[in-house]
């Protein structure tokens, strides 16, 4: 069993090392490394439209992972993730323009600032549960949103604020292709960090708090500490995602970071799979590609003779909006455990093929 390339039909983990591994088999590890290498060549193969989508997946994916750590792993809920995402975006732009800190340092610093803000709102939230917590985080969404619109010194108020592109040793990452590498690096880095966090003592404490907080407390897990920490980590991820978003666009306006964005983050992790790191990424990919695929469908309709009349095209636009809602409902009914669970099932199907029964 020392050279494990295939997975045995059952759970035969006999050591902590095996239990702790990030990649379950060698094949998975190689596949992961190969696909990252392949992604490095993406700018040579696909046009900047796809690159834009991949960049979107990166910054949204990082933020969504944060939310999944909070919701999926720690069992808390947050309806204010969109606002934290926005806070990271403004914070990074603000640090850069007000204190002339280089952008590549601003991004992690913005993460820490957002972490501070998240923990501030998390402090009362760590003591409440369920619906009450949902309302408390909803309040944070509105307070922060209002702050964006009023704090001229921080966010530029209604005029928004500028964000310089990332400049590393004289090289300016201001094209889609160059920024893509930053986004890819950040995504891989933050996901590996997320995986590692979940293998650690703190990660297991999060899960314990989620599964049975009373038992966890009896075992010596400090509930408040870990709930607060979870809020912090989650906001940190949101901040990093937001900062990347800011420096990609070059401009941040308060308009985007509404409750809808928070709900969209929740939708991503529900579709992807609560409490699953690879599920988070799947959910994000799904949510980014779904409107584009539907848009493509509308585009196909428009190319036909009978389809290119305003009535049909406008109707499809509504269908497109409804489809997103429909998909979320569909997932809740048919696949409440998300894409990650579905992926496991597909894998199992082939693993046992043809003796699935």
């Amino acid at each position: 069993m020392s050279s494990l390339t295939m997975r045995p039909c059952g759970d035969f983990r006999t050591s902590y090392k095996q239990d702790n591994t990030i990649f379950e088999t060698k094949t998975i590890r190689y596949a992961a490394i190969l696909s990252i290498i392949a992604l490095c060549f993406a700018p040579l193969l696909v046009d900047s439209y796809f690159i834009t989508l991949l960049i979107q997946i990166s910054y949204l994916g990082i933020a969504a992972l944060g939310l999944n750590i909070l919701v999926g792993y720690t069992g808390q809920i947050s309806l204010g993730h969109g606002a934290f995402f926005g806070f990271g975006a403004f914070a990074s732009a603000w640090l850069n323009t007000s204190f002339s800190i280089p952008v590549f340092l601003c991004i992690p610093l913005a993460g820490f600032l957002t972490m501070g803000v998240g923990m501030m709102f998390g402090a009362p939230a760590a003591r409440i549960k369920g619906l009450y917590l949902a309302i408390a985080t909803l309040a944070s969404q509105f307070i922060i949103e209002d702050f964006f619109a009023r704090a001229d010194w921080f966010s530029g108020g209604s005029a928004g604020s500028m964000a310089e592109p990332i400049n590393l040793f004289g090289f300016v990452f201001d094209t889609d292709q160059s920024f893509y590498y930053i986004a890819l690096f950040a995504l891989v880095f933050m996901y590996i960090w997320g995986c590692n966090l979940m293998r650690s003592r703190d990660g297991r404490a999060f899960v314990a708090v989620r599964d049975h907080y009373l038992s966890a407390e009896i075992m010596g897990v400090k509930l408040n500490k870990y709930r607060l920490l979870s809020f912090g980590v989650s906001s940190f991820y949101a901040g990093i995602g937001g900062a990347l978003y800011a420096h990609y666009l070059g401009y941040v306006s308060a308009e985007g970071f509404t409750i809808f964005m928070s709900v969209q983050f929740l939708a991503m992790i529900i579709i992807g799979g609560l409490g699953s790191i690879k599920g988070t990424l799947m959910g994000v990919i799904f949510m980014v590609f779904l409107p584009e695929a539907l848009e493509g469908g509308v585009g196909l309709m428009k190319m036909t003779e009978w389809g290119n009349i305003p009535m049909v095209v406008d109707g499809l636009a509504y269908i497109k909006e409804m489809a997103i809602g429909l998909v979320i409902i569909g997932f809740l009914i048919f696949e409440p455990e998300g894409l990650a669970h579905r992926w496991t099932q597909i894998k199992n199907y082939w693993k046992f093929y043809p003796f699935a029964y």
């Binding site: 439209y49 979107q56 928004g160 201001d174 401009y251 306006s253 308009e255 985007g256 695929a293 848009e295």
Partner: protein
């Protein structure tokens, strides 16, 4: 889970991939691409759809009548539902796959998110966001946070329109023989769109001798605004600027009618149209709003062309369009003439279209006399229009009446540039 669900999932994801990879890249020999972002299903759809129809019908009409001096316009309308990520994706798609030259945009959110991209890619954008800070292309005014060299819009900026209204209010106050300082209140959601003229307008109101009251915040979504109306009533405010649009304005007018406030409402350009007046009912009394175009029933020479354009989507020609439609038409026709100039002077590229915007003085697109106001864009000043027509609407027991009350021409003050 059954095998059939697996297969269905595979099938659906496959078909999604196919739909994604198919891009309409069948470019005709002589054509240019114009992207059109519209909000037809999002929060600003109330007026977004009307404006989008204006743009879309105009593009279709231009194509049906010889295009840009013979060059066909290729265009695509994408309903981005006021979501920034989708607007960016659409922009990138058009830029990388269709070689987009010019874009017709929509709201504050997408226009602002794209400012850096369009400046870098040299793609002129004609937005329906009239934010004052899009008007400084070179960053001449130290007030300006971010120069917007490739952003244009047809109409007076939100700030200028509000200044025009305040000017009207000052005269109105005197003509009614009132004594003392009139009180001015900004009413609107705490969002970039209603906030855009907030500071600029309050500053000017103070200059004109108004007492500026603390702003009243009402949500962008319709709701019960009686509490806000009561605070307006108790503050004794005389003139209120409404920064919102659609259903929110409806709710405000209805709530304040119930409460019985005695305030003169003045709305932004998106906050007053026939549809709003009909729906709001009795509360609409001498409701003041600015326009940049005549109304559907007005008898001006340019309306003939507008009615032809309208037939592109309404064959019967019976539909009566709101005045936002005409602004969509104007925006498209200024773009068209700039493109025509560009074609004669080195080809239709983003840079040349931008130059084409600076060629004419007191510019009215051909055939739209009386519809579009004369506009002047210069290299250092993107305040195309500095004239505000002020109208008054009355519900009048169901027979909505709209009449012009004033016309204000604003100075092109340097300290107002980009603000």
């Amino acid at each position: 889970m059954s095998k059939s669900t697996n297969k269905k999932l595979l099938l659906s994801s496959l078909s999604a991939c196919v739909a994604l990879s198919v891009s309409a890249n069948a470019t005709a020999q002589d054509s240019v691409f114009v992207g059109h972002l519209a909000d037809m299903s999002g929060p600003t759809a109330f007026v977004g759809k009307v404006y989008a129809d204006g743009v879309r019908d105009s593009l279709a009409y231009i194509n049906a009548n010889g295009g840009i001096s013979g060059t066909k316009l290729e265009y695509e309308t994408i309903d981005y539902a006021y979501k920034v990520p989708q607007a960016i994706a659409a922009y990138k798609k058009w830029k990388s796959r269709k070689n987009m030259v010019v874009m017709q945009g929509w709201g504050t959110a997408d226009t602002e998110a794209l400012i850096s991209f369009v400046a870098r890619d040299k793609t002129p954008v004609f937005s329906a966001s009239y934010s004052g800070h899009l008007t400084d292309p070179t960053g001449k005014n130290p007030h300006t946070k971010k120069p917007a060299p490739y952003n244009f819009f047809y109409g007076a900026s939100y700030s200028d329109a509000c200044r025009g209204l305040v000017q009207w209010a000052a005269k109105d106050w005197q003509s009614k023989g009132n004594k003392g300082k009139p009180k001015f209140t900004h009413i609107g959601a705490n969002h970039p769109f209603p906030n855009a003229p907030k500071a600029a307008c309050a500053e000017y109101a103070q200059e004109l001798g108004f007492e500026v009251m603390p702003p009243v915040v009402i949500s962008m979504k319709p709701g019960d605004f009686k509490a806000q109306c009561l605070s307006i009533k108790s503050s004794g405010s005389n003139y209120g600027y409404i920064g919102n649009l659609g259903g929110s304005v409806l709710s405000l007018v209805k709530s304040c009618n119930t409460v019985g406030t005695d305030i003169q409402f003045m709305s932004n350009i998106w906050g007053g149209d026939k549809k709003v007046f009909e729906a709001a009912g009795e509360g609409i009394k001498n409701y003041i709003f600015p326009t940049m175009t005549p109304f559907w029933t007005d008898n001006v020479p340019g309306m003939k062309l507008v009615k032809e354009i309208s037939k592109m989507s309404d064959k019967s020609g019976e539909e009566s369009r709101l005045h936002h439609y005409m602004r969509g038409v104007c925006s498209t026709y200024f773009m068209k003439e700039a493109m025509e100039w560009a074609k004669e002077n080195g080809g239709i590229t983003g840079e040349n279209v931008k130059k084409g915007m600076y060629v004419h003085k007191n510019w009215v697109p051909k055939g739209l006399e009386g519809v579009c106001l004369a506009a002047n864009w210069t290299v250092e000043d993107h305040r195309g229009v500095n004239q505000v027509n002020i109208y008054q609407g009355n519900f009048n027991g169901g027979n909505v009446q709209i009449e012009q009350v004033s016309q204000v021409t604003l100075d092109r003050r340097d300290d107002w540039l980009g603000y």
